[in-house]
């Protein structure tokens, strides 16, 4: 259920042990049950400051000003949106690097209601010019991407959640994996949308691509595989069309048809499970297949 969150805590604890320049700033979320032991082991640079997300990001930036590689983390809405100006100015404008891990994605916390949803996280993060945006789809990819980016000198948003693919890929930041070759369309799945996308595309003659990086985006691979007049379908775990700028600019030199299958741009006034809200949004395999067939028609 929360394999990615466990993986985040495990890798973060290991990085604190391995690299004396790593700092962790938490605002109560994931302390008990996940990272309390790391905080006990490294009391000077692994700190839980209480429920204060603006300060969490500002304090992380203070660590970065002193040459540390800070990691800050909360529920996606409370690390990507609430302290947005601290991310924009304290990290972006000041030219500092840090890692921001948001758990819960679009509506993992389905039963908590939309106060705990963050389908806009990736979009608002990409509005910060230097921000890298990563969406691992498997707990092993969480480890690989965190280790590849925690000291990259750039602000990096890592989106984790309860939705996950059944198998990991050997991923790297800024790289698209080619999962299947086909002729009728290209389907680009981001992060945990790969697994429902594979089910949705069963028996279809489509190329299937897998991206864990929205930024940096692997424009070269996309441009190389889609062909001259492609139909491109993006399957996104966040608001539909979030990837539009990256995808369309990668193949701006050719005529193309697009479809953006993601979280509808409306407030959810419903509870239940993530799977319930996936069905409502048309993001279950059945819904995704219906949309892909419409585009290919």
């Amino acid at each position: 259920m929360d394999g990615m969150r466990v993986a985040f805590a495990r890798t973060t604890s290991a990085l604190l042990d391995e690299d004396p320049q790593v700092a962790l700033v938490l605002a109560e979320i994931s302390v008990s049950g996940y990272l309390w032991r790391a905080i006990e082991r490294h009391p000077e640079r692994a700190v839980n400051i209480g429920i204060a997300e603006q300060a969490m990001v500002g304090i992380a930036a203070g660590f970065a000003m002193e040459g540390f590689h800070p990691i800050a983390h909360s529920i996606a809405a409370f690390v990507a949106e609430r302290p947005y100006e601290q991310l924009k100015l304290d990290f972006g404008y000041q030219g500092l690097g840090g890692t921001f891990v948001g758990v819960g994605g679009s509506y993992d916390y389905a039963a908590e209601g939309a106060t705990h949803h963050a389908p806009a996280d990736a979009q608002v993060m990409t509005a910060i010019p230097t921000m890298q945006v990563l969406a691992p789809g498997h707990e092993r990819e969480v480890d690989a991407l965190l280790r590849a980016t925690y000291a990259n000198g750039e602000p990096t948003y890592v989106r984790i959640g309860s939705a996950a693919n059944t198998e990991p890929f050997d991923v790297a930041p800024g790289r698209i994996e080619v999962v299947a070759h086909g002729g009728a369309a290209t389907v680009l799945a981001f992060g945990p949308m790969l697994w429902p996308t594979l089910q949705a595309c069963a028996g279809l003659d489509v190329t299937i691509l897998y991206a864990t990086s929205l930024r940096p985006f692997d424009a070269a691979t996309l441009a190389g595989v889609v062909g001259g007049a492609p139909t491109v379908v993006a399957v996104e775990p966040w608001y539909e069309g979030t990837a539009a700028a990256a995808v369309t600019s990668a193949i701006a030199d050719r005529p193309a048809r697009y479809a953006w299958i993601g979280v509808p741009r409306t407030f959810v006034h419903a509870y239940g499970t993530r799977e319930d809200l996936d069905r409502d949004a048309g993001l279950d395999p059945t819904g995704i297949r219906r949309r892909i067939l419409e585009v290919m028609d």
């Binding site: 400051i49 603006q54 304090i59 203070g62 040459g67 601290q86 000041q94 030219g95």
Partner: protein
């Protein structure tokens, strides 16, 4: 005139060189005495080594009215005097809010109110985590800037983290719409050691700004009565 008076007269002349005006907005001149005391008497900073890891870190949180800071950085040799001639101009490095990537000696890019104190808490934590016991983080905020809720998060956190290497300097030029006093009760209630001084009394400012405890952050509230900017 004594040495300090001469030096401050030069700083005022440098401020005039930047702005082309003998008068200055209150956000610059209300900070002048405190900034001078910091850079002349208190801060361990060296213009030859602006990135010295053992320097004190000064963060102008409010970012507004940085002309006094720029003039003092010129007087102390951090930036060339000619930089003042292009204040706020395209191609210049000194804007009406400071940019740390452009100005040696400027620790933080500020101007959006309510950011600097959390940065200073992070710097103080990082200094401690790095085993640097001597340097301090000193953060200047304005009384109206303290309206911002984002300041009260680090006000709460700094005593809890026992940050004896942190000083908050409040320049109270009475520009806040809600009355921010009584400072001693309010900040003291969160666990800060609070000193209230006349914001133009350089001797008192120096004593207060030198104060440091092992585990308690210090707040120095420099009062600038209205009309005395």
């Amino acid at each position: 005139m004594d040495t300090t008076t001469d030096a401050l007269a030069r700083v005022r002349a440098l401020m005039a060189r930047a702005t082309g005006d003998e008068k200055h907005e209150e956000s610059s001149t209300s900070t002048l005495d405190a900034l001078w005391v910091l850079y002349d008497r208190v801060l361990h900073v060296d213009p030859a080594r602006p990135a010295d890891p053992d320097r004190d870190r000064f963060i102008l949180s409010k970012g507004h009215g940085p002309v006094a800071l720029y003039a003092i950085l010129v007087a102390k040799g951090f930036i060339p005097e000619a930089a003042l001639d292009t204040f706020m101009e395209h191609g210049g490095t000194l804007g009406s809010h400071p940019d740390r990537t452009l100005v040696p000696g400027v620790e933080a890019s500020t101007g959006s109110l309510g950011h600097g104190l959390a940065l200073a808490v992070g710097v103080a934590l990082a200094l401690r985590a790095g085993g640097r016991r001597e340097p301090r983080a000193i953060c200047l905020v304005g009384d109206a800037e303290m309206n911002e809720g984002s300041n009260w998060e680090p006000v709460l956190i700094a005593p809890h983290r026992r940050l004896g290497n942190l000083t908050m300097l409040v320049i109270d030029n009475h520009s806040s719409t809600p009355d921010m006093s009584p400072w001693a009760e309010r900040l003291g209630g969160f666990g800060w050691d609070v000193y209230e001084v006349d914001g133009h009394d350089r001797a008192a400012l120096e004593v207060a700004l030198r104060r440091r405890h092992e585990h308690t952050p210090v707040a120095v509230v420099a009062d600038i009565p209205p009309g005395e900017w």
